[in-house]
């Protein structure tokens, strides 16, 4: 059987659609061609004739790519990236820190670890439950047909947001507090990043992993 997905991808490669949206279109059109091909075989056509019959579904791929681009990109109230990346990430960014705030309101005591003279405040109940939020975000992204990278970003979004905040804090802190690079507490900063970025990211990743697997259209249409 021809690789319909490859064929469609090659033909609409010139489309200016965003990559995620284009991939969704490729999956959908390839699935259509696959079924048309199978229907032709069921009617008794030879494989070669069935392929030729199926290819008649599209006379002008260039024109089709342009029409699809127009239909999917203009005045779209919610584009694919919003649906598959920003909204799930936003949801995850609300629920994961929200759960930490609830734990704090419930007076769940953090564990304080001393590393030399530096204190590391660990909210273990929060860290333990973070895989659920990683899974939650990645599930939402996968449901919106997000590609692999976007599912990963959404799953890890609470940790990535903190990393982004720290990336801002470092230069601002250097300027506002008039720190010199020589006396900036890099060790403490690194420990904080480990505590609030690396550990949560690892926990989130555990929940995200099951949703990174490609299970859908690609494997099936190429089977």
């Amino acid at each position: 059987m021809p690789d319909w997905k490859k064929l469609v991808r090659e033909h609409i490669a010139s489309s200016a659609l965003p990559a995620a949206s284009r991939e969704e279109v490729v999956s959908e059109l390839a699935a259509h061609l696959e079924e048309a091909y199978e229907a032709a075989l069921l009617q008794g056509l030879t494989e070669k004739a069935a392929v030729e019959f199926t290819l008649q579904e599209v006379n002008d791929w260039h024109a089709l790519a342009a029409r699809i681009h127009r239909a999917r990109s203009e005045e779209n109230p919610m584009n694919n990236r919003t649906r598959s990346l920003w909204l799930p990430a936003m949801a995850n960014l609300i629920v994961a820190p929200g759960w930490l705030m609830i734990l704090q309101k419930l007076a769940v005591q953090p564990r304080v670890l001393w590393i030399g003279d530096m204190a590391m405040v660990l909210y273990l109940p929060w860290l333990i439950t973070l895989p659920i939020f990683g899974a939650f975000g990645a599930f939402l992204a996968k449901r919106a047909h997000a590609r692999f990278v976007n599912r990963l970003i959404v799953g890890l979004s609470p940790a990535l947001a903190v990393l982004g905040a720290f990336a801002l804090i470092l230069p601002v802190s250097l300027v506002v507090d008039q720190h010199r690079l020589t006396n900036f507490p890099f060790a403490y900063f690194a420990l904080t990043i480990f505590n609030w970025v690396v550990l949560p990211a690892l926990a989130l990743l555990i929940g995200t992993l099951p949703f990174l697997r490609e299970t859908n259209t690609l494997a099936r249409t190429e089977a």
């Binding site: 969704e24 059109l29 579904e57 029409r67 109230p77 859908n216 099936r220």
Partner: protein, 113 residues
């Protein structure tokens, strides 16, 4: 000009056909094309090239909504369902086409089924 009118008629009839089908049940692209062909005895036929730009456009206008889910064979397909906005479009579209056929009938004796 003739081509433009023909294109508009094709587009309008396509929208009505798709909305009518989806008012009954959610369907994915291939099923929509197949059912339209079967139920019109082959008089209306959608190819991939004519169907998907129309579906995407209707989705953009909020008339239909596409969502991936497994079909009966366990394959992921993008099922389209009618939105409340699409449902509201259906009655005026039907009325428009009824008027159109009546007008054509009174002018040219073309009776619709």
């Amino acid at each position: 000009m003739t081509q433009r009118i023909r294109s508009k008629i094709a587009r309008g009839s396509g929208e009505l056909a798709i909305l009518s089908l989806l008012a009954e049940q959610p369907l994915y692209g291939f099923e929509i094309a197949k059912q339209i062909e079967e139920r019109t005895g082959g008089a209306l036929k959608f190819t991939l090239a004519s169907l998907y730009p129309l579906l995407y456009d209707m989705e953009k206008r909020g008339w239909v909504e596409g969502r991936w889910q497994a079909n009966s064979a366990g394959r992921d397909r993008r099922y389209y369902r009618l939105t409340p906005g699409g449902r509201r479009q259906l009655a005026p579209l039907r009325a428009e086409w009824r008027t159109f056929f009546q007008a054509l009938d009174s002018l040219a004796g073309v009776s619709h089924a």
